[in-house]
Symmetry: C2
Amino acid sequence: MLTYKAPIADIKFLFEDVLDYYKHYEKYPEFEEATPDLVDAIIQECAKFSENELLPLNQSGDKEGCQFDNGQVTTPKGFKEAYQQYVQGGWAALSHDLEYGGQGLPSSLGMIKSEMMGTANWSWAMYPGLSHGAMNTLDVHGSEEQKQLYLTKLIEGTWTGTMCLTEPQCGTDLGQVKTKAVPNDDGSYSITGTKIFISAGEHDMTDNIVHIVLARLPNAPEGTKGISLFIVPKMDVDSQGNILGENNVSCGSIEDKMGIKASVTAVLNFDKAKGVLIGPENKGLECMFTFMNTARVGTALQGVCASELSYQNALIYAKERLSMRSLKGAQQPEKVADPIIVHPDVRKMLLTQKAFSEGGRAMIYYASQLVDVIENSKDEKERKRADYRLGFITPILKAFLTEVGLESANLGVQVFGGHGFIKEWGMEQIVRDTRIATLYEGTTGIQALDLLGRKILLSRGKSLKSFTMEILGFCKDKSMISGNPHKRQMNKFIWPLSKAAANWQQYTLRLALKAKKDRDFVGSASVDYLMYSGYITMAYFWAKMAQAAYEKLASGVENRDFYRAKIKTAEFYFERILPRTKSHAATMMADPKSLMQLDEELLSFL
Amino acid sequence: MLTYKAPIADIKFLFEDVLDYYKHYEKYPEFEEATPDLVDAIIQECAKFSENELLPLNQSGDKEGCQFDNGQVTTPKGFKEAYQQYVQGGWAALSHDLEYGGQGLPSSLGMIKSEMMGTANWSWAMYPGLSHGAMNTLDVHGSEEQKQLYLTKLIEGTWTGTMCLTEPQCGTDLGQVKTKAVPNDDGSYSITGTKIFISAGEHDMTDNIVHIVLARLPNAPEGTKGISLFIVPKMDVDSQGNILGENNVSCGSIEDKMGIKASVTAVLNFDKAKGVLIGPENKGLECMFTFMNTARVGTALQGVCASELSYQNALIYAKERLSMRSLKGAQQPEKVADPIIVHPDVRKMLLTQKAFSEGGRAMIYYASQLVDVIENSKDEKERKRADYRLGFITPILKAFLTEVGLESANLGVQVFGGHGFIKEWGMEQIVRDTRIATLYEGTTGIQALDLLGRKILLSRGKSLKSFTMEILGFCKDKSMISGNPHKRQMNKFIWPLSKAAANWQQYTLRLALKAKKDRDFVGSASVDYLMYSGYITMAYFWAKMAQAAYEKLASGVENRDFYRAKIKTAEFYFERILPRTKSHAATMMADPKSLMQLDEELLSFL
């Protein structure tokens, strides 16, 4: 049986000591309610709900899965009731607009909520998660009327939402979307087409579902420039939100998947369903892009959640399971064997999980702070700067954190040995649930092209330079030449980090030159480049955490062990994880020829 | 739906051009029947059986799983019939002793059989696979009477076999085995205890199952030195093999697992079951060790099978799925988009799968040749040399090939994008089925300790030196200074390979010195060291394959593309995969302090 305790001390460490969240909140008058007391209370309540209500439904939800019967979907036992509790607890409204019934708290608090709930039960958390995506779309692109009708219902949790993008012939390449939207006389549209892979696309939790649908107007330009966005409710409603009847949206089937079995993945058939346009005609993809970063950071979170859950359970097991003796001699001679945690390789697996969980969380919370700025700053320059930075780190977070999250989940299985393969322990489920994370919301390959091709090369390296400047600025501040009182201890991080940041720039420049001569250099280097970037980015956050821990220790704080553990984990990261950049650096610089020279027909002789 | 075609050209390339198998067979008079004609016929028949009978049961077997009802286990539809066909086709007898009804063909041919059947359907192949393990035990340690009774039945396939080692409290650490064997007056023993994780432990394919059971005699020494081996049939039999009745062996339950769902994993309760001792008293573990290498190479094979099956299907999909355009511009402008195989990163994933499949197969076939020598050579020195080498490479094969096999299976899912997560395609099943491979038959961590601790450091580096001498000998033979007509082309492989082999020795020496001062260095370096060793070993086999391909091309052979593809895949391996050694080299040399300094209690503050 899986256990989970919300890592409140870790969360507060980031909030208070590393990322200075309260000072950040103070900058925005609308966050005046986000005081330490309130934030603490929210974290405590959220932890309780996640640990007591959502975790117990995690493995049972996997076992039961969603049931499909003649267009109706039944979610696993307890899911509906947990959703009711979620709504009653006001969680749906937490970080949404006061004007439409929200509580107006910062998005970054919403992320902490998502983290705890998502760690306890990612499948369940996808239902509110998708609503969140629909709410963001309405918030930014909806008309006042659309917001009053749909956003209000979503914020109060009476309805849930979806994002309907993928079709059988296309997922990544949305220019191929075929779903049609034909104007009706009343200003609405008739939507016809098939959408697949629709998370939360049909369920029994609410009476209505608000689908945000990508479709093509008659005579729209071909490709990505001819796609528009529509609101298509499952049930037809009047302007007050009263349900009038069916709206020709039917669920054709649900997918049988490797994992997240309790999260429904629907095939939706729109057969002249009534919808309304949201945002300008033919600008649907651009509208989607406005909050794509937030959505992708939300998916990056899955890697951290998986890593945390797997780590917590692997650690318990490693302390209990007795097998063999330490090579140094018996550590617990009174027992029939030593607990496996005495073995260095078991510790290496656990520390890898720990480093990825805590390092990943720091990266996510950093991004959340940027989202707060983007959504709330009155200073356009500041807003743009935050948006630029978020755009740069999003593909790193999405791809890197889901890849290492999957690795961490697999390490958790490995710590359990053969028992990790058995369902009742729950460890293998974390792997299955997390396997989707490197695929949806843009595969790792797509994120890598976004990072290197679009974000870096198109900006002529500016986006990278601005981020490495931040890293090098930190290094300078904390280095030997600065007045940092912890400079001596920090040196072991500062030196490799500044070297890594400088190399990152160097390699990028060389890649840019090579890509000019051969466009395939971008695709050929991209995934290695992304992972390379991810390891350096995480090193930056581990160095920041170490610095914060030294400062706390110097301040004479209690619970000194907590801060010492942070520093030692940072040391582990720098010695055992950061060197992975060496291999990625070597392979990303290799000539694309080794990938492209073999003709397609010569890849197999069967 | 998964497809599979046996890679006959690849198999024959290794047989004929790389490893000179026919010359090898000619050395042993008992293999005189293993002529090219017979081998070809066997390969063709085996391919047919695997493709037509076993593959169709792969996904259905996963869906249906094994059913447990009141001690009885029902295997998925078609499994029993396929087993009957297997027996009727004489496959069970292929590489076993003529004296007991076998066909007396080389073990290496048995490995090819296992490869094809295991690729088509690993779960199904585990039933005959476990019989094979029991047969090996009987063959080496059984008395004439035991062989006449049990081995004959296993070879004819009338009964199947198992290996009963694991108990709830121990898997790796078999010194903790509690199952008891009490002598009876008639020379037999009463066996009592619980065994778990017993593959093929109960099923409906045959009337009887021969369990090979580890148990403890009364007053046996504690730990590993007090364990004996017993034959315990499920059904009590007379000396002619007629079934007399139940033998107090019952199946308590079966495990619900992540994968290999069609392969039953039983909990077996022995309640004064009648057994006979096999091998000497208290020498059970040593008896097991005699063929542990073969068993582990058999598990290493799972990595190759997974990689091959995943690659074949990913390649088909990558040629068909249309998404986006090449960054170089449209490659197939007549289509709505280019097939994804134009994208460099998709090619990188496919080539990684290809390199692991073909490189892994070469490593397995090399090991198989050693097994042939061990089993058949009359020259004790030659036999010992082969055994020594097999002992050295076994942990590398087992851990490295299952780790990269799992990576390859995951890459196959990644090529499919979101569709890879959906069951009907079968790609996610390969990941689930293969996840067990790094766990059973000794986890990756255990293999790594075996390699570095036992095989290398205990031999004072001799085992490694002898293998790197083989590699360096090959390099010298094929290098610039030799008479090799392909020396110019081979240079790109010879130089990095000889450098890698030399580094391998250097690092090992340094590790040995460090381990003398701190025993934790062994465990702390071991897994990185093993992966490092694996990448170099595979590089050796890719260089050998490249050399063989150059020779074939020079000989004016037809099907030149086949050989060119081998060379280009070798180039890919050296440029894109071998550099992974850089990171492993860096992290394996790190001080164990970074793993051990954090007290167990400081690993979590929940």
